[in-house]
Structure formats: C-alpha cells, structure tokens
C-alpha cells in the first residue's frame, strides 16, 4: 500500500513537471517510463476503484497533496482533479507532454510513437491510450459541431447545458473540498470569487442551487462523478452566500428576477436576506414630483422598474415565499405611515402596482375581478 501511495506522489510530481520547461531534459527513456507509470495508475484505478479501503487511501493522499499545494487551482498547474481523474491520468499526461514545446525532438518523436502506434494494436480488456485520445478528439469535435449548429442558449438558465455542466462541476468540487478538509469550502469559494469572471460565477452558483437532488448511483463511481448528490453542495453555497453580503448583493443584482425567485423558493434561508436587500434598494429611491415617478438617488441604485419586476416575480412564487413577501411589503408600508395615496411611500406604490398588475392579469385570463390575495 505504501509503495502505491508513493507511486501516486511521484506521479503527481511528474504531472506537474510535464507542463514546465524541465521536460527539455527528458530523453525517450524518461518519456517511456512516465507513460508506464500513468498506465499503471490507470490500471490501479480500474482494479481498485470500487475497493473501499484502497480508494479511500488514494483519495486521502490526493487531498494531502492539495493541502500542501495550498488548495488546488491555486498552483501554476493543477494536478489530478480527483480520484476519477486517475482513470484517465495517461491521457492527461500525454496531452500535457504533447503541448509542451520544450520537449526535445528525440523525446517527442518517441512520445508520438508511443501514443499512436498505428492500426492493429488492440488491448483485450482496456481501451488503449490511442483509442482514448481518438475518442477525446471525436467528442471535442462533437461538442464543437453541436455548439455551432444546434445549440441555443436556453432562456431558463438552469436548463442550459453549458450552465448545467459548470454547476455540476462546481458541486462536485465542493464535495471534494468538503472531504479533503483542505480548506473550509467557504474559503475555497471566496478564492474562486476573487479569481474567476464574476458574472459567470454568479450564474453558475444560481444554477447549482437549482439542480435537482440526485442520489449517487453505484455504477457511476468509476466515471467522472457528475451525478453526485447536490444537497450538501447547495448547503455550502447557501451558507457562503449568507456569510458574504457583498457577494450576495452582487448575486441579487446581476441575476434575472425569475431565476432569483426560483432560487429563493428552493432555499428559504435566503429569502429574509433577499427581502432585506430589496427593502434597502427601495429606500434609496425618492419620488420626483415633476415626473411623477420614483427615481434613483445615485446612478448605481436599482431603478423602479427592476424593483417592481423582482417583487412581481416573487409574488408569483408558490405560497410560503409569496406570503412572506406580501407581509414584508405590508409591514414596510405600515412603518412608512400606511398611506393609500401614491407618491408618498414607495411601498404603497409598489403594492398598488402589484395589485393592478395582478388585476390586469386576471382580466386577461378571464378570471373574476375579485382582488383576493393581492
């Protein structure tokens, strides 16, 4: 067991080195050895992937490595993403070496011969490296063709395939981090927040929070674990959002109203903070007597239309959330003085607008003119 773990360590080092200029010192024999190691580890993954103790030991070792690196994604070059990555570690290594310009001519020639020996080389039980690489190339062109010939961004972000994939990866990663205890997931998320394009990150978080609960199926343990249980991951995300007010403010600002309503319905813990934010935004608006509308105090404030949009969307949510929202609005209105006349309290005006909107909607739908809940 210990030799196996050491092997894993050596290989991770190897993988890290394979993208650096250090490979210029490699000769064909080194290349061959490196590929052999990779093949060995892949074989280990195949044989012991389902074997509890060995798998756990390997995973723990990987987590150790991450801890030492200071959390993955931080180092200049990522190592093995997770245990499943062992299943294709030979592909990882091969691609890194292939792309590395520093590799010497003789070594490169040897590498190419090893990777692509030609037809007639078949392995009875395992897919050869050549087949894996060819399949990767095929899948990449498949994605490319689908992307440019049939894919259209889904207006419901949570159903968009690109978003979904990113969300699945995020949840999977959070689970790994949770297991590794390399850093508290919150810290990991904060580091992501600092490094990644924020707009996209926020969308991915929203989609991740809306993923349907799936139970982990035993046969998928050997595959890239896309179908992990999102339950724990969601909790971590919610917790982190609640703990970082500036992130949450950006979250609520950047995302469309409908998406936020769905997220808040699904995770009730977020609703008080969301409502709080909305009330803060509302209070920043003042009434312009001349124009007869509510306007922002400063340019970066949320305008009336957007505020109204969000409340409208929230009022279309199913009962527990909807009632909370209305109660909050009524309370604010009461605090302001409980006016019925427009122009004095934004809360009055909002409620009026929401009611008339609802009234119009009921008319259009052919329902009775009674104003029941709104």
């Amino acid at each position: 067991m210990e030799s196996l773990l050491q092997h894993l360590d050596r290989f991770s080092e190897l993988l890290a080195v394979s993208s650096t200029t250090y490979v210029s010192t490699w000769d064909p024999a080194t290349v061959r050895r490196a590929l052999q190691w990779a093949r060995y580890l892949r074989h280990i993954h195949r044989r012991f992937g389902r074997h509890g103790p060995i798998r756990t030991a390997l995973e723990r070792r990987l987590h150790n490595q991450w801890r030492q690196e200071g959390g993955f994604g931080r180092g200049p070059v990522p190592g093995l993403a997770n245990f499943q990555a062992l299943g294709h570690c030979d592909v990882l290594l091969s691609l890194r070496l292939l792309e590395n310009r520093a590799l010497g001519d003789a070594a490169r020639y040897h590498l190419v011969q090893q990777l692509f020996p030609g037809p007639g080389v078949r392995d009875a039980d395992e897919e050869t490296l050549q087949e894996s690489l060819a399949r990767l190339a095929r899948r990449r062109s498949a994605v490319h063709m689908l992307r440019f010939n049939g894919y259209r961004e889904n207006p419901n972000l949570q159903e968009d395939s690109l978003m979904k994939t990113q969300a699945e990866l995020l949840l999977e990663r959070l689970q790994e981090v949770g297991k590794a205890e390399a850093e508290r997931p919150a810290r990991f998320l904060s580091s992501l927040w600092e490094r990644l394009p924020q707009n996209n990150f926020l969308k991915v978080i929203a989609v991740a929070l809306l993923q349907p609960p799936l139970s982990r199926r035993p046969q998928e343990e050997l595959e890239p674990g896309i179908h992990k249980s999102p339950g724990e991951g969601s909790q971590v995300l919610v917790h982190w959002l609640l703990g970082n007010s500036e992130v949450f403010a950006a979250f609520c600002r950047a995302l469309p109203a409908g998406l936020l309503t769905l997220v808040t319905s699904r995770h009730p813990a977020l609703s008080p903070v969301y409502l709080g934010l909305l009330t803060d935004w509302g209070q920043r608006l003042h009434y312009d007597l001349q124009k007869g509308i509510w306007v922002e105090t400063e340019s970066q404030d949320v305008p009336w239309e957007e505020l109204h949009n969000r409340f409208q969307s929230l009022c279309q949510a199913p009962p527990p959330l909807k009632d909370k929202v209305l109660t909050a609005l009524e309370t604010c209105k009461a605090q302001d003085g409980d006016f019925e006349v427009p122009g004095l309290s934004i809360w009055t005006d909002l409620l009026l607008a929401l009611r008339s909107g609802a009234f119009r909607k009921r008319q259009v739908l052919g329902l009775s003119a009674g104003l029941s809940s709104v």
């Binding site: 993955f72 994604g73 990522p78 190592g79 993403a81 990555a85 294709h88 592909v91 990882l92 691609l95 292939l98 792309e99 310009r101 001519d105 003789a106 490169r108 020639y109 190419v112 011969q113 692509f116 030609g118 050549q130 690489l133 060819a134 990767l136 190339a137 095929r138 899948r139 990449r140 062109s141 498949a142 994605v143 490319h144 063709m145 689908l146 992307r147 440019f148 010939n149 049939g150 894919y151 259209r152 159903e159 968009d160 395939s161 690109l162 979904k164 994939t165 990113q166 699945e168 990866l169 995020l170 990663r173 992501l192 990644l196 394009p197 996209n200 990150f201 991915v204 595959e223 890239p224």
Partner: protein
C-alpha cells in the same frame, strides 16, 4: 503498386480540391457535401497512411509536397474529425511526417508545425472563454469534463426536440426546421459515437408539424447503415420511425437480409430464423405499412425467381417470426387484419393466422376443410382481376407453412380415403397455376398412388422414407419446401 500510386495521386488532387471548397464546413452546402463524402475520404486517408508509413519524413515531403496542407485542411473541418476513425488516421499520417532528427531549421519548423496540428486535433476547439476559465479555475482539465458536457448538450437537445414534438402548435417554443435539419446533418459523422444516441433517437421519433420531411436523407442513410452493420443500438420505436419516414432505408434493410441469406452457404431453417430475427424486420412489420412493403418485396422476389423454394422457406420463417412479434406487441397497437392482408377476405386471414399447434388434433380435419373451402372459394369462384386472383390466395397460403404440413400429416396418418378438400389444398399448394382439370388430375393421381402402395409408412417411420422414383410431372416438386423430410410421397 505503380498503379496504386498513380491512383493515389489522382485521388490526392481530387481531395485537395474538395477540402479547399469545404473549408470549415460552416454552410449548408459544404456540410451536405462533406457528409456525402466522409466515408470515401476516410478510405483515402487509409490508403494514404499505408503509402506514407513506408517512407521516411523527407521522402514523404518529396513525394507529396503539399501533404501538410491537405492534412491541415482536413483537421480544420470538424465533420471530418468527428467521423468514425478519421481523426486517428489523420494523426497517424501526421506522425509519418515527423522528423526524428531534424537536420535544419526547415525540418524543425515542420516538426513544430505538426505539433501544432496535433494539438489542434486533441486539445483545441475551445469555445466559450468563460466556460474554459471557470473549469480551469476549478482545477479541471478538458478530459475531465468533456464527456459530461457532451452528455448534457445531447440530452438538452433531445428534450428540446421532444418538447417541440409535443407542443408543436405553441409557436414560441418551436424549433425552427433549419435548426432540426442542421442537427441531423451534424449527426451524420457522429452516428457511431454512442454519446449521441439519445439525440439520434429523438430526431427519428420526434417530428414537428411540417408537412414535408425536414431531416436530411444523408442522416437517414447514415443511421440505417449503422443499424444494418450493428454499429448503433436504437430502441425498436426509433427503428420503426426510420423505416416509416424513409422508404429507401427499409428497402435497403430487406436487401441486406436477402444478401445475407444468399451469401451464406447452406441455410438451415435455424439460420434463416436467426438472420430474420436479427434484422428486426418482423417486429417492425407489426406496423402495417412496413409489413406491406416487406411483403411486396417478398412477392417480387418470388415472382422473379419463379417460386424458388428458398424464398418460400424465407417467407414462412418470416411470417412465423412476424406472428410471434404481433402477439407480443402491445394491445394498443393492434391494427385490423385488412391492413396487413388487403387482398384476402378477413375470415380467411384470421383462420390462417392461427397457430396450427394451438388446434387440438381432433379438430385438424375440420379446420383444414374450412381453409380449403375458403381458399377454393377465393380461387375458383372469383373472376380474374378481382382481389388479385389465384396468385394472391396462393401467396397468402404459402406464408403459413404449418398448414401444408398439417395437410400432409393428416393425409399420411389416416388410412381412410383422403378427403377431397385436403387433396385440393395440397394440389393447390404445389400447383397454383393449374386449371381445375389439371388439379383434379393431380388429386386423382395421388389417390391412385396411395391405393397402389397400399399400406403407407406409419407416422413413426416417416424419417426414413421409402425410396421412390422422382416424378417428371412438374406440378410435383421433388422435395418439400420447408422441411428436409419429404412429406409428400413421390409418385410415378
């Protein structure tokens, strides 16, 4: 060898031109043309590789100075990269160009360039920058997430198609026909990639509200080809949809079956049954439209071969498989018998469709007499031209080999005078074109023969028949069509 290299040079020019026109296959025309030629291009690549692997890098450049350009153009066409093994063969060809020990800067540059192209095949085709940054930021390499991404895209497109199918009239969420057509084109090179199966299935099963066919014929052909060569596995419903939507595919499937039957050397019944069940045609034939086409092809084959016994045997095995499939088919999809057999009376069809095994021995004579009656009525009392005439009746009857066997068994078993009805059936089975008189003579001949031979072989010894002389009479074929044991004694 010399001829091969001349051919190769010609082909080379042809493909170079084609690739230049296709470029990155971004327009409808280039995509269609690429789809039509991908298979041939792969063959060319294979030939190319066979030639290149014998030479070293410098020789290759001398012989084919523009080879690099050709390979690069191919790599930039995603339809080519996506097809079957083309990406592998391209890589092999590129590897033949690599110089083990570059002597000058030119050769080094070539090596470097090849590396770039290899990278492109394996690692490029990056799209959304944000997605790439995100996944990188999480510590994932493309190999980690591409399978999942492809799966999500395929499932998302498949469910969009299904929704389009169900909500056809809701114009807001309708999928534009061009988009569906475009998807079908994209699937052509990807047909053997199992990740794409859900999309292929959705394309086949879901059709929008357009009156004309949206999917490209290349798509149907590619799917059909993959099904026949067992390179794809689709649910039966999708296969049925394919054959219903694209008649040439169904015909090709039948021809494929015929070819298999013809090319394999001694066909025992078990083998025929294997081939037939393998082809999925009996199950598909539960849909009357498919059954009619299949039946028509059998009819043509029978007429062309002038009633070849092998065809009759095949028809009988097919019908047996078909009836089995029909029983298993869900109750909801039951069609009226008339849709399967429009040229015969429903009562006759119903009687014939029964399983002879289900009939208790005591009732055999009754049932056979009934069949004989119905058939005789159809044959003798109808005027020519109506309901297809005697041929249609005979064609229907020969579908069901079990009855003729039963007649023979009945005749052989009973020592009493053979009933006219049974004789008629047997005579009809072997001589559909006989006039009434001729048939009557045949029947008489049989009666005479049995009387002359006196005691017939008892049932148990039927396996070793009494050797008799072969009849020269062409209405009595020398051996039975369906089983190896002769069940009709040879008559002088």
């Amino acid at each position: 060898m010399a001829q091969d290299s001349v051919d190769l040079s010609c082909d080379y020019q042809f493909w170079m031109q084609k690739l230049s026109v296709w470029d990155q296959a971004s327009t409808l025309e280039t995509q269609q043309d690429t789809c039509l030629h991908v298979a041939q291009f792969q063959e060319f690549l294979r030939k190319m590789y066979e030639a290149l692997k014998e030479m070293d890098s410098n020789t290759v450049i001398e012989r084919f100075p523009t080879i690099g350009q050709l390979l690069a153009k191919a790599c930039w066409n995603p339809f080519i990269l996506a097809y079957d093994e083309s990406q592998k063969i391209l890589i092999w060809c590129l590897c033949c160009l690599i110089n083990k020990e570059p002597q000058n800067s030119g050769q080094s540059k070539l090596n470097s360039w090849i590396q770039g192209v290899l990278s492109h095949i394996l690692s490029a085709l990056r799209f959304d920058k944000e997605v790439a940054l995100f996944t990188q930021g999480l510590g994932y390499a493309p190999i980690d997430y591409y399978p999942g991404l492809l799966k999500n895209m395929v499932l998302s497109l498949a469910s969009e198609l299904r929704e389009n199918h169900l909500n056809g009239f809701n114009t807001q969420r309708r999928m534009a026909p061009e988009r569906v057509a475009s998807l079908s084109r994209v699937c052509v090179p990807l047909i053997t990639l199992t990740d794409v199966d859900p999309l292929v299935e959705a394309l086949l099963i879901c059709h929008g509200r357009e009156p004309q066919e949206i999917l490209q014929p290349e798509f149907f052909e590619a799917v059909n080809e993959a099904i026949l060569l067992k390179k794809i596995s689709l649910p039966m419903s999708a296969v049925v949809c394919l054959w219903l939507r694209h008649l040439p595919s169904l015909e090709k499937a039948m021809l494929h079956l015929f070819e298999k039957l013809i090319s394999s050397e001694r066909n025992c019944l078990r083998r025929i049954e294997c081939f037939i069940k393998d082809s999925s045609l009996p199950q598909a034939a539960c849909h009357p439209a498919i059954f009619r086409v299949v039946d028509e092809m059998f009819r043509c084959a029978l007429l062309e071969t002038d009633g070849a016994l092998e065809i009759i045997a095949t028809i009988q095995v097919f019908t047996q498989c078909f009836v089995e499939a029909l029983e298993k088919a869900s109750k909801q999809l039951r069609f009226a018998l008339k849709t399967y057999f429009p040229y015969t009376s429903p009562s006759l069809a119903m009687v014939l469709l029964q399983d002879p095994q289900d009939i208790p021995r005591g009732h055999w004579l009754q049932t056979l007499k009934h069949i004989s009656e119905l058939l005789r009525e159809a044959v003798e009392d109808q005027t020519h031209g109506s309901c297809g005439g005697p041929f249609e009746s005979w064609f229907l009857f020969i579908h069901f080999g079990g009855w003729a066997e039963m007649v023979a068994e009945q005749l052989l078993m009973s020592a009493a005078e053979p009933p006219t009805a049974l004789l008629w059936l047997l005579a009809f089975y072997y001589g559909p074109r006989d006039g009434r008189q001729q048939r009557a003579q045949t029947m008489m001949a049989y009666v005479m023969a049995t009387c002359r031979h006196g005691d017939l072989q008892p049932c148990g010894q039927r396996r070793s028949p009494v050797p008799t002389e072969v009849a020269r009479d062409e209405t009595l074929p020398a051996h039975s069509p369906a089983k190896r044991r002769p069940f009709f004694p040879k008559v002088i």
